[in-house]
Symmetry: C2
Subunit: 328 residues, 2 copies
């Protein structure tokens, strides 16, 4: 019995140490700079009786996705998915042979793709995201995630969540916060992998939405994804969508671009206690560096200008993050 107890004791010690480390440092991938200290102070204040205490039902934190929780380069990942899908589907669509946009995709002709603008983008999304059931679409995204890899980081896209942000999500949840995604990305695209990648359940995803209609097909109910866009969850649309789905003003907003500006305003202005945070992409070595003139999405001008006045935290990725991605 003695040796069993000794073994037990040795088995318990590492667990104890680990949880003790975690309790001491809930954000181990953050450097000991101001953003980390402010985040920890905010969570402590929110959960301690006093004037900055937040009742549990009001602990709502909203996170943009592209550029805030995972990268948005070389292109937003949903667009890479659409391009990969055009390539996969082209052989079974002989009628696409005449289509200049499809040909540009197949040839990797980025110039033509860029010139096609929003209209071209919308067309690529319609060709790959609609005319199918919601179940078929989910299967397509799942299959893509199993095989596709990011061209620079050589990992599946859903393993590219920023490690410091994953820690922040878990830290907030451990302190009674609901974590929500509020992204310009498509809801149906995100839902497939957010639970596993971020610990965020399917009903806490707010995003852009395409029209969908219900029908009975061979005696079975289906939802068909239609080509019309119903709602674009960006800029002033974000507070509207937050109101519609969450029904409360959040107490924390986390973004990286001017598409998140109104969400930051709605969360923080005249609404204390609250916190606003902007991830500033400053790290070309480990990830990407952009703000005023990004290569794809993620323009950040107003947010940087107003951050000091609004007391929003600006995270300098290079300076404030120990690592960007998890160790493999």
């Amino acid at each position: 019995m003695f040796s069993l107890q000794r073994n037990l004791l040795f088995a318990v010690i590492p667990v104890f140490l680990c949880s003790s480390i975690q309790a001491d440092d809930p954000l181990p991938s953050w450097n000991e700079t101001s953003p980390k200290h402010r985040l920890i102070q905010y969570v402590k204040d929110s959960t301690t009786e006093g004037e900055s205490f937040i009742p549990v039902e009001e602990r709502i934190a909203v996170f943009d996705n592209d550029g805030t929780l995972w990268p948005e380069n070389p292109l937003p990942f949903q667009l890479i998915f659409a391009i990969d899908e055009i390539r996969r589907l082209a052989p079974s669509h002989p009628e696409w042979k005449e289509d200049k946009l499809v040909q540009a995709v197949l040839k990797g002709d980025v110039k033509t793709l860029k010139e096609s603008g929003r209209k071209g983008l919308g067309k690529l999304l319609a060709m790959t995201h609609t005319g199918i059931t919601t179940v078929e679409f989910e299967t397509r995204v799942q299959n893509w995630l199993k095989t596709a890899k990011h061209p620079r980081f050589d990992r599946p896209y859903n393993e590219l969540g920023y490690q410091p942000m994953l820690e922040l999500l878990a830290y907030l949840r451990a302190n009674g916060f609901q974590t929500w995604i509020v992204s310009g990305g498509g809801v149906d695209f995100m839902r497939v992998w957010t639970e596993e990648a971020y610990g965020i359940p399917r009903n806490q995803i707010v995003g852009s939405v395409g029209k969908t209609h219900f029908e009975m097909r061979d005696g079975t109910p289906v939802l068909i994804k239609d080509p019309e866009i119903d709602f674009v969850d960006d800029k002033a649309g974000k507070p509207v969508a937050i109101h519609r789905q969450i029904g409360r003003r959040p107490r924390g907003a986390f973004g990286n671009s001017d598409g998140d500006y109104e969400m930051l305003q709605w969360t923080t202005i005249g609404h204390a206690p609250s916190i606003g945070l902007i991830v500033h992409h400053t790290d070309a070595d480990r990830e990407y560096a952009y703000d005023k003139a990004p290569k794809s999405s993620g323009k950040l001008i107003k947010g940087l200008e107003d951050a000091a006045k609004r007391n929003w935290i600006v995270v300098d990725m290079k300076k404030d993050w120990k690592r960007v991605f998890s160790a493999e």
Copy 2:
């Protein structure tokens, strides 16, 4: 010390008995008829390892509101709110003196109101629900609930939840189900009182939605309710809205009219294990009796026709419910 312990003992016994009764009978306001037994069997099967087990994340139950959780007579309560608001606001709107619809409301001229149809209804809703901030609207609903009483039952509207359904909501939640409202009523109207009345939080309300826009007003962010309707959450719209906000097919659907038919299909057909239930209003003495030709909303024809084939439970309010409302 002995007497203190004795007192403690006596204090504990009633609590113990109560919780024992509750555990034995989670649905005390339901008669011992088939619906009650099927509901209990469903919950037992859902939570017991076996072929009808439902993982916790899939335990989603959706409830229509008007006629399912509270009455919809003499008119849907949101419409009564709109009429009461017209009366309250009329003195400060001299321009309404020329308006035939407003005059019909003020005179209680039901014939003119009915003849105005959907267009008239939309106008009344726009006059009382829009052009104001979401915060102002919420205050209006709160104030109305404090003073208005149902003409027949003489209680505040938010105290008219059907007692058997309140027990069912609590029973499902106690067994790990998320309970959601999926109603044709307005989301902003419902959210004000659903948490207290039903135990359903603000972010689990799916309903009809008006357009809203964000703006900065005197340096403060506000959402303004606009007159345009964005989405009507009825009939084939219900599965669409469920997909958008919940992102999973429910495992239980509870309704009372053909407006819930597609939601029942989406929940149950080809999607076992699941349960569908229709509240049939058969009790003119204690509540109302209607199906094919209701006085206001709540037409039920297809649901009754197909219930047996689909194995949906039909609740006969008169026969299956011991009481309709809580004892005062």
